[in-house]
Symmetry: C2
Subunit: 253 residues, 2 copies
């Protein structure tokens, strides 16, 4: 039987893909949160912003206008990743001018994602977190077939109505031949507690979607992340608040 | 000079595209709100759910499991649109099994969108609202080149950081040769007011992004829509609350 030989990424111990069924559920936010949390625990972390449709990792780190550098190592030109809060990161947004509306086709997407994975000097890495393009098209499938991914996390909002979209995201990993274990579901935007009313919880985006999806796929609900204004404004401040709020994020690994 | 002959959609007076730079900002919600508001004012309204990546209009109307019917008119087979709250609608989700993860390529997308526009029996229509696929790829560009679109609305959230994505959406219409007038910007998820604290406003997703984008493109900020839990749960209930809250929605046309 013919099996696809997967590309291994040298010096990286674990590769975790963060995926979603549709955009805007907080997948990039969760990717950044996961990466910075792991870095804070002392792990060597690489964050690959492979979200070709809307790479937002650089601006979440406040480094949108930075210039990526490259240098030659053993005759091969490698990009030098950016670094902040103990996380090394590279982004589609640095390789392709993210102000342009790029027409993404399979070969271009595979080429650019390949550069992020194998033409970036990541160095010894414990966890590589991959902020995946939202949705479930052939671009996502090809990447999952090509690289050895150790685990996947699917991000959803609590809305029962939007669980349908998230389900497609989770389905993508249960493809037998893909062999990518679904680590669990992260439910984001789970409730909102106003600062001046710490005992109140408002379920603006519904309830229970994360648990329903986790049960359906026989996997864990890894965390429920509330809406916190600072998360959208300043990643470090947002992450500090989320960590106080959310001991579970710390338990994911 | 060679100009593309645009396809006119018979019996439809005005076609308005509702677009966004990225998913999850509420484009489908705004499309549904706009359609039901116009229907309530007595206009004949058609809602085209062309959001191929995540068609959500049927479930917003609670008609996800309905079967689309077709009949033959003058030898041509036409789909009969669904109808609710005075709005006629058809969706990619009825034509293609939306539970499947479809690999969307240009020709397939153009074919399915073409069926929604020209193989659906819309009848005499004052306003056709088009829930566009999010983003700015060649699928969106091809549709804008092919059909005569009278106006475009771009939906954004207030986050200054996400205005970059919305800007690409607005840029798409300012392409000289496309000739699609940008009617204005709708800012969604502008604040949250807890029911028990009607004097408080929480800017969970930031502030000012909509106005900033409107000024940049020399167009109007048509409306600011607050976060209202019922919007995600029951479109009619949500729309009633939004209309009380938001006289501006009524002034868009
Ligand atoms: N828990 C949260 N609290 C407040 N804002 C959030 C939260 N999660 C995400 N956001 C905001 O919601 C928007 C969408 O999040 P993002 O991570 O870009 O989603 P995705 O990657 O799924 O498209 C961004 O403006 C982000 O700052
Ligand atoms: N003003 C609002 N208040 C509360 N929830 C909203 C509002 N606008 C959108 N939503 C919810 O946010 C999610 C994304 O909205 P949707 O219209 O599907 O976005 P898009 O079409 O841009 O992907 C849905 O769960 C929807 O119910």
């Amino acid at each position: 039987m013919f099996t696809i030989e997967k590309t291994n990424i040298p010096h990286v111990k674990h590769i975790v893909v963060v995926a979603s069924g549709k955009g805007g559920v907080g997948k990039s936010t969760v990717s950044v949160l996961l990466a910075t949390t792991l870095a804070r625990k002392g792990y060597k972390v690489a964050l690959v912003d492979a979200d070709i449709y809307g790479p937002s990792v650089p601006k979440m780190f406040g480094m949108d206008d930075e210039q990526l550098m490259a240098h030659t190592v053993d005759g091969e030109e490698l990009m030098i990743p950016m670094e902040k809060y103990g996380v090394k990161f590279n982004s589609v947004g640095f390789i392709v001018n993210s102000r342009q509306a790029v027409i993404w086709r399979g070969p271009l997407a595979a080429n650019v994602m390949g550069q992020l994975f194998t033409k970036t000097e990541w160095g010894e890495t414990d966890y590589m977190i991959v902020d995946f393009p939202p949705g479930t098209g052939d671009i996502q499938l090809s990447a999952l077939q090509q690289y050895k991914i150790d685990a996947a996390i699917v991000v959803t909002i609590p809305q029962i109505l939007s669980v349908n979209d998230a389900r497609k995201g989770a389905d993508m990993f249960s493809e037998q031949k893909l062999n990518v274990p679904l680590l669990g579901i992260v439910e984001n935007m789970s409730w909102f507690t106003p600062q001046q009313h710490p005992d109140e919880k408002y379920y603006i985006f519904g309830k229970d979607g994360g648990q329903m999806l986790a049960s359906e796929f026989n996997t864990k609900l890894l965390a429920q992340i509330p809406l916190i204004t600072e998360v959208g404004e300043a990643v470090e401040e947002g992450n500090n608040l989320l960590e106080k709020n959310n001991e579970t994020i710390n338990k994911i690994f």
